[in-house]
């Protein structure tokens, strides 16, 4: 029996975590191919002209970091984003995927722990990552164009034809805010993995080596992600592939 007035029931809530990142250098979140800018890699903005770090990019990085961490703990993890290398198909990926922990009620096949948070072609994502938006009004700054050159490493020379421009945010301490949402079905140990992954993300966007996109997470904003002893224990028991 479902009674709307009684929802959500205990433990079936979406946990929303408001994230704040402060940039310590200029940001270049490029999206090749979009128009309206002189740059080859223009910076991404929303319809209001505010700078943003797309949720797709943060989600991709989080998944990448979670995969590394989980593998390090000995769990069998598939290889996103190629659907053929992802759960539940995983053509030619080694690992002991046939185990109780990889079963998901209502879904066929086995799904590694990263897929259980981030989803795969058959399992919907249980984590939503919103865009991180900079609240500074577009009038408050001017984006900068930086020239870049591709180096030919063998000859140690710049290749003329590979000169390009990247658009960056100004090099001020811009604050970006957005939210993560852990849906009711998201496993509790997911918090532990996501928190650890955030600690491994020190830069977003392109051209890190050129000193762009370095950021720090506001420690206060990570508090709601504090996992329990049990969450750590579950992760730590390892899968030993």
């Amino acid at each position: 029996m479902i009674r709307l007035a009684e929802l959500p029931l205990q433990g079936r809530t979406t946990a929303s975590v408001s994230l704040t990142a402060t940039l310590s250098s200029a940001l270049s979140v490029g999206s090749g191919g979009s128009s309206g800018s002189l740059a080859d890699k223009p910076i991404v903005k929303d319809a209001f002209g505010r700078l943003l770090i797309p949720g797709s990019q943060l989600k991709g990085r989080l998944r990448h970091e979670c995969e590394k961490l989980a593998r390090g703990l000995g769990w069998a993890i598939c290889q996103s984003p190629d659907p053929n290398l992802m759960c539940p198909k995983r053509e030619g990926i080694p690992g002991r995927f046939e185990r109780e922990e990889y079963r998901v009620a209502g879904y066929e096949g086995s799904h590694c722990w990263v897929c259980q948070i981030f989803g795969n072609p058959t399992l919907p994502s249980r984590l939503w990552v919103d865009d991180l938006v900079c609240d500074l009004s577009p009038e408050g700054y001017e984006e900068a164009l930086r020239p870049g050159v591709t180096l030919n490493r063998r000859r140690q020379t710049a290749e003329d034809q590979r000169l390009y421009f990247i658009e960056t945010s100004p090099a001020t301490a811009l604050k970006f805010t957005g939210s993560l949402h852990l849906l009711p079905d998201c496993p509790s140990w997911g918090k532990a993995l996501i928190l650890a992954a955030l600690h491994h993300i020190h830069a977003l966007g392109g051209s890190k080596s050129a000193g762009l996109g370095w950021l720090t997470w506001d420690p206060q904003s990570l508090v709601p992600l504090q996992p329990t002893e049990q969450d750590w224990a579950q992760l730590g028991q390892g899968g030993w592939v």
Binding site: I2, L4, G32, A47, V129, G178
Partner: protein
């Protein structure tokens, strides 16, 4: 019937796609389909209810979504009180649009009643531009809404988002997984004014007053957890949804029917300059205009015309005098969006929004209650997802050639 008014404000781009046979897969829709809103609310309730996928769903969920007379979720159109222009509305081929929207515009006008007169009198009807220049006119489609005493078009902007797939092994952008996605914009630029957030308006109709109250409160409390369309786990599809009960005012339908018939008679008199003939004195008229695509079936066959037989069956009214005088319809293909899977449903043939059917009867009074219901429930199949929404005797039909708007 209870009505819940929904106002949706986009907080991120919306990736609500539509698919036509042979078309690009990521083409964005112009509105939020009722099926998308319905699916999102149903999905949220299920995710909170810890429902066993194999157990029968009872209680409020069943009453809303699976009962014999489920709640109706209409499409949410851009703007605040927007409607679909009838297929009989025409405007200049060279410079179309409402008069207010530009200096040289000759406006938009409706031809339903004139077409009826010319058809009955056997006189060819070949409308031209309302300024008398003889310029060519063509059907003008889209959503319109009142603006003061005039009208304006209501639409959303779209843009292409380019996403770069990452090759995680090498942590570099992998060219072969660069993809782009057409989305509805979350903001609308305006002339010399700040960008305004994109809003949509839709309705939920349901029979049970108590359930309406519960659902309104549920949406108000949980709206921040709803996401609409595709790529929702990656930041798209965020909307702010406000739900409020619409106070039940008496339907304006009887008034609209009276005005429509009066204008039709007047217009008939005007046409007597060209030919003299009498309208049957015992007949009255009503127009049914589609406000959303309709899935119509006649004897198991898909059709794009609402026939008198179908209308009698839909409403349960037997009226041997009912006659279809004119039909303006075209068809389109739509596919649904399965929110849980982020996939398209099967493609369906639908009668296009804007299609108009003009009926006559000798028993108009008997039809008033049925037509009032029809304006909320809709006609045809999948009405709970917003298909087959109708407007009876739209006031737009009264904007004739010489008073184009």
């Amino acid at each position: 019937m209870e009505t819940i008014q929904l106002t949706l404000t986009a907080e991120s781009p919306l990736a609500i796609g539509r698919q036509k046979p042979g078309g690009a897969i990521s083409e964005a829709q112009d509105y939020i389909p009722g099926s998308v809103i319905r699916g999102a609310i149903a999905g949220l309730i299920l995710s909170q209810a810890q429902a066993n996928p194999h157990a029968p769903l009872e209680g409020d969920f069943a009453a809303l979504f699976t009962a014999a007379q489920p709640a109706v979720f209409t499409n949410a159109y851009p703007g605040s009180q927007s409607k679909v222009l009838p297929a009989t509305a025409l405007s200049s081929k060279n410079d179309p649009g409402f008069k207010d929207s530009g200096k040289d515009k000759t406006g938009i006008f409706d031809t339903l009643i004139d077409r009826f007169c010319s058809h009955k009198l056997g006189i060819p009807f070949d409308p031209t531009e309302p300024d008398g220049s003889g310029g060519r006119v063509e059907p003008y489609r889209g959503f319109y809404q009142p603006k003061g005493s005039q009208y304006e078009m209501a639409s959303t902007g779209k843009r292409l988002l380019t996403r770069v797939g990452i090759n995680r092994r090498r942590a570099t952008a992998a060219d072969q997984i660069l993809y782009s996605l057409e989305v509805m914009n979350e903001g609308q630029p305006r002339k010399e004014q700040p960008i305004r957030a994109t809003t949509f308006n839709g309705k939920i109709y349901l029979r049970d007053a108590k359930l309406a109250e519960t659902l309104t409160r549920y949406i108000q409390a949980n709206a921040h957890l709803l996401r609409l369309g595709g790529s929702v786990s990656r930041g798209l599809g965020r909307v702010r949804i406000e739900a409020k009960p619409q106070s039940s005012t008496p339907s304006s339908l009887p008034q609209r029917l009276t005005t429509f018939n009066k204008k039709l008679q007047e217009r008939w008199q005007a046409w007597q300059i060209f030919a003299s003939a009498k309208l049957p004195s015992d007949r009255q008229y009503f127009a049914i205009g589609l406000q959303s695509g309709a899935i119509l079936r006649d004897n198991w066959q898909r059709t794009t015309v609402l026939s008198p037989a179908m209308l009698q069956e839909e409403t349960g009214i037997e009226d041997g005098s009912l006659c279809l005088e004119l039909a303006f319809s075209s068809y389109d293909y739509v596919s649904g969006w399965n929110a849980a899977w982020g996939l398209f449903k099967d493609v369906d043939l639908v009668t296009s929004p804007g299609s108009v059917f003009l009926f006559s009867t000798t028993q108009l009074d008997r039809w008033i209650p049925a037509l009032t219901d029809l304006e909320q429930i809709g006609v045809g199949e999948r009405t709970s997802e917003g298909f087959g929404q109708v407007e009876v005797c739209s006031e737009f039909h009264l904007h004739f050639w010489e008073n184009a708007v």
